[in-house]
């Protein structure tokens, strides 16, 4: 079964600007896909729709074979929480929480017990190489470390799909390489990874590149 199937996807903003003009593709389970294209081409919009943060104005989006158009906001939220992990360019960690608490947060929203959460968060931080910095707040971490926390957080609820928007955009080249290696590792373990990037190195590392230009596949 495909992880993602989109068919004729469009997204028109209020005021008439068309960010996506009918995009169709499929991404199989355990694929590593890079979405590339120039700024303003609509790739972030596409990623937001794939991540169920935004809804298309037309076309179909099937997540793991299920149609998403008719789902209520609560159902969408539940699906996003359980099946999708988000990694952001700006990390988007909550500054007042420790690394551990940041990683545990999605599990809290999923209703898991405190002990369970802490244990898994610690395990995930160890997995991304930050086992010793679990109690640090984001301000006490370097950019690369923050992104590792971000990835650990994205993995918290054992999603099937990892979405990343320019995950190395705010990192130096050394950290970028490390983060990319982490993504490849996760993909090798069976995780479907879709990331939006400008970085040709990441594009080269991905199993497949989907190129977008002016809201359509290029």
């Amino acid at each position: 079964m495909n992880s993602i199937t989109v068919d004729g996807l469009t997204r028109t903003y209020q005021g008439g600007y068309q960010a996506l003009k009918g995009v169709s593709f499929a991404i199989a389970n355990s694929e590593f896909v890079a979405i590339m294209g120039p700024s303003g081409c609509g790739k972030s919009t596409l990623l937001n729709i794939l991540g169920l943060l935004d809804r298309p104005t037309g076309g179909k989006y099937l997540l793991e074979g299920a149609e998403t158009a008719r789902l209520s906001d609560a159902e969408i939220t539940g699906l996003r929480r359980a099946r999708i992990g988000f990694v952001f360019q700006a990390f988007n960690l909550l500054p007042r929480l420790s690394a551990l608490e940041n990683v545990a947060l999605p599990m809290a929203y999923a209703g898991q017990g405190v002990e369970e959460r802490r244990a898994r968060a610690r395990e995930l931080l160890t997995r991304v190489g930050l086992g010793r910095k679990a109690e640090n707040t984001p301000l006490q971490l370097s950019g690369g470390e923050r992104q590792r926390v971000g990835i650990a957080r994205a993995l918290a609820n054992k999603p099937a799909l990892l979405l990343a928007d320019e995950p190395t955009g705010n990192l130096d080249s050394k950290s970028s390489v490390e983060i990319l290696a982490l993504f490849k590792e996760l993909n090798a373990e069976g995780m479907t990874v879709v990331l939006v990037t400008h970085d040709p190195a990441i594009g080269a590392a991905a199993g497949r590149v989907i190129r977008i230009k002016d809201g359509a596949l290029a």
């Binding site: 991540g51 906001d73 939220t77 988000f86 007042r96 809290a108 994205a154």
Partner: protein, 423 residues
Amino acid sequence: MNAGEALRAGAREIYANKFRSALSFAAVSVGVASLLYTMAQTQGMKEALEKNLELMGPGRLTIEKKRNYTSKGLSQGLTYGDALALRRELPDLYMVEPESTNWGRLVHGRTSINGVKMTGGTPDFARRDWVYRLRGRFLNEWDVAHRARVAVMIEPAVWIKKPFWAKFWGDDNEYDSFAKRRDLLGAQVRLEDSVFTVVGVLTQPPRDKDPRWDSWNTPNILVPITAYQQHLAQDMNTPDAVDEIRVDTGDERTLASRRKQVEVILKRRHRGEEDFEVKDDREEIENKMEEMRKYVKAGLALGVVALLAGGIGIMNVTLATIFARVREIGVRRAIGASRADILAQFLFEAAMLGAAGGVAGVGLGLGGVKWLAGLGGSRDIAQITWLQCAAGIALASFVSAAFAFVPAYRASRLDPVEALKAE
């Protein structure tokens, strides 16, 4: 997310914005303090009233000279004779006590004290508000009939726990400090220009425990009304005059009819002049309570207004908080928070702010009530229960959460994509 975590997260947020938070709950705490104080007062008043009514009995009347009344020359005014007539014509009255009071000089040995409150009365004095402990003997009928120059001294009341104001200002007058140091039982003292023998000493209950609402009105020295008229009264034109006559019918049911009869008898004796007033003591007290109730209502209104103002303050802070945390809301939504989660988060934070205000208010209120209880002397107004404190805090958090609802709801409806773009 469980309650403990939400609590910690909320506390962290409040602590991170200490100043803003303190400002916003200041008004809430004033509201809670004011409500608490009002509740305490209501409670204290009710208890004071009940205690006093119990002590007083149900059938009490006070006959006084009518104020601002110019006699036509027919009546002799209120006299000891009136009291005797009431006794004679209405023998079932439980108490008929004529009373006059003057402030004068007391001399004992080399000590001379001015401003001593000297009251003339009868043995019936013992039939009203008797809270004393007696050493020696009290006035008797023989004393009154024979104008005996005997006196009963009333010792100044002490405090069990002295309130702040009494320590600060000192609440002893000359007589108090004199009477405290000397036991005058059996001694001879000069009151004004006549020598009296002290045959009894009355000890008052401690001031903090005194059930009388007018304990400040207690005389210093009690003598037979007849001896008072002869030796201590100042107006020589009306030798038989008394200031007031206190009556107790002994029964609530006979109060109204006896009151009428008293009025008829006195009017006849005063040759048709209504130069007196018959007052129901309970009405007097209830009037006083009614007056106090008005203040309580004002306190209540102040509390409600302050709480509402506090609620608006909290609303404002919630708005500011949300505005500053739009991006956080986006992140939380992206990692799986539902709209309800976001709504709950901000409502909870507001409720915590309110509760903090409530706690501060309870502190303020308790302090204030304690202080005011001190000011009020013997009144037991410091009657705040834990339940009232809890209710105050709960109310503060509820009001805060209610006012935060609109901003929190708007926060929960933010578009996650837009929220994530915020700086």
